[in-house]
Amino acid sequence: MSDVQPMLSLRNFSVSFDTARGPLYAVRNVDIDVADGESLGIVGESGSGKTVLSRGAMGLLPKRAAHRSGTVIYDDHDLSTAPRDELRQYWGTGMAMIFQDPMTALNPVRKIGSQLTEGLRVRLQMNKHDAKTRGLELLHRVRIPDPEAVMEKYPFQLSGGMRQRVMIAIALACKPRLLFADEPTTALDVTVQAQVMQLLSELRHEMGMSMVIVTHDLGVVAGHTDRIAVMYAGEVVEIAPTKQLFANMQMPYTEALMKSIPRLDTPSGQRLPVISGRLPDPTQPEIGCSFASRCPYVTDKCRASAPPLVEVTPGHSYRCWFPIGGSR
């Protein structure tokens, strides 16, 4: 995977926002590659910087508020220095995004049909009839019953699951090569979550596209990704092929995340383990390991100096002085 040119490559990528208390570092020095056709999961708790990372990589953050540094290479094009007009050429047709809440991400006052065919007409110069035909195909493909009627409806007239399917159809309308799915199932019922993830996986294989799934739920990405990057306080703290991560996690934070997933075989009435404490203040520079204040295995060394991200076995990197497996 590493010898071919990746489709998306982030190097030393950071994003900061200006706040009253000084710059807030939401994403810090991230290096991530997404290969052609690969599905990458980005996992972390709220505030870990995963949404800012995905929006920042695509260039969707407001320029004035968000300061980006480092490089973003998409398909041999450096997006970090590209003006917005150039970025726009890749949006929709090259990179597309699915948003967390389909209620707020669909325009409340425009019909589904016009929102769906808009990209086709503006970006692919399709005429009205062709765009409508393609729109109906897309709705059919994301398993929306009675696409003709849905084209004439407004977002508030659809259920949450339907809205999310519509959003997937909109994002995929111009056949992007890379899809960012930002918490694609968080706003949905558990039963619908599985269906939507299944649909996304199917579509990825069908269209041969790459996908970056951003979520706080390791369970969601487990069966649908090739690799997983775990983020904490704006940094990637562990990255590994999915199977390897689940079988042989090294970073205590990954372990803590895993333990906080409810399992069928836990006896009922037992309390779910929680990660105590909270994320460090992103406006203050960290001296030691960013997870030190919450880590059950913390030592003086962890508080004194930050561990680097080291690739220990091929494809498996993590940031920890005293990994769980004890291989370092």
């Binding site: 969707l60 949006w91 929709g92 809440d101 409340p108 503006v122």
Partner: protein
Amino acid sequence: MTRALPILRRLGALLAVIVLSTFFLSCLLRLLPTDLVDMILSMGTPQEKAALRHTLYLDRDVFTSYIMWFSHFIRGDMGIIYGTGGGETVWSHVTRSLPISLLIMLYTQVFALVIAVPLGIFTAYRAGKKSDRAISNTLFTASSVPNFALAFLLIIVVGVKLKWLPTLEYVGFKENPFQHFKHLAIPCISLGVGLAASYTRLLRTDVIAALKDDYVTMAASKGLSDSRILLTHVFRPASVTLLTAAALNMGALIGGTLVIETIFAIPGFGFEIAYALGTKEFVALQSFIAITAIGYVIFNVTADLLIGVVDPRTRGSR
């Protein structure tokens, strides 16, 4: 059916508002400090006074006289202008003056919106930048000038000094369209500048709020241009407050035309109201104010219906 029902309900409410407001108005006539009949026929004989009292339904109880008055009112029988010796009916004054004022209000609104919509969107898009601050501050200054003061300023500069535009009288559209607009330019601009400023600020605020919404980021992620996003995705949801304000301002404009029509000697509805007030034509005034109230209600219902068109979420729930 499902679409017609809310509209019917709206119309029912509209009728109730009109009946209530005109009823209170007719009660007010009885609360005048002096007797209306004595005022009109100050030197009349008791027989003449009794006859007039009967004509004005003042010899009945409040409810009967209201029903009598209202049933004549809606048929256009609004009595006579007593100051003219009974030669002219109130209705003839209404049909002559109301269209003029409605035109002035319409032109003023169009003028204000034509300025406010592009400026509101532009200043929101450039919020906080120099161009936004320059435009916003200029409009704020302009909106703090009362419209009659602006009218005098325009009369002196554009009318008297530069002699570009006439400053008095009214020319009908059918008589001479060009002169018609020329004569109404200064009045409508004086009325419209303040409106344009407040509309711009309303729209700017709503567009700034809408620009922060997820669906704007979503629209951007499709690769649409900023101008397309602003016009097709942002303007429509952001224009709801503007529409409501425009409708409510129709009511305020009735007061505005009263002043402006007096300044420019335009024989419009505001001019008639001012005249009726000055000459104590309370019979005519009752009908004038009733028409104003009905107009106000109609403008509000129109705004609600328009908002339903613009924002489908509100259909049926208003």
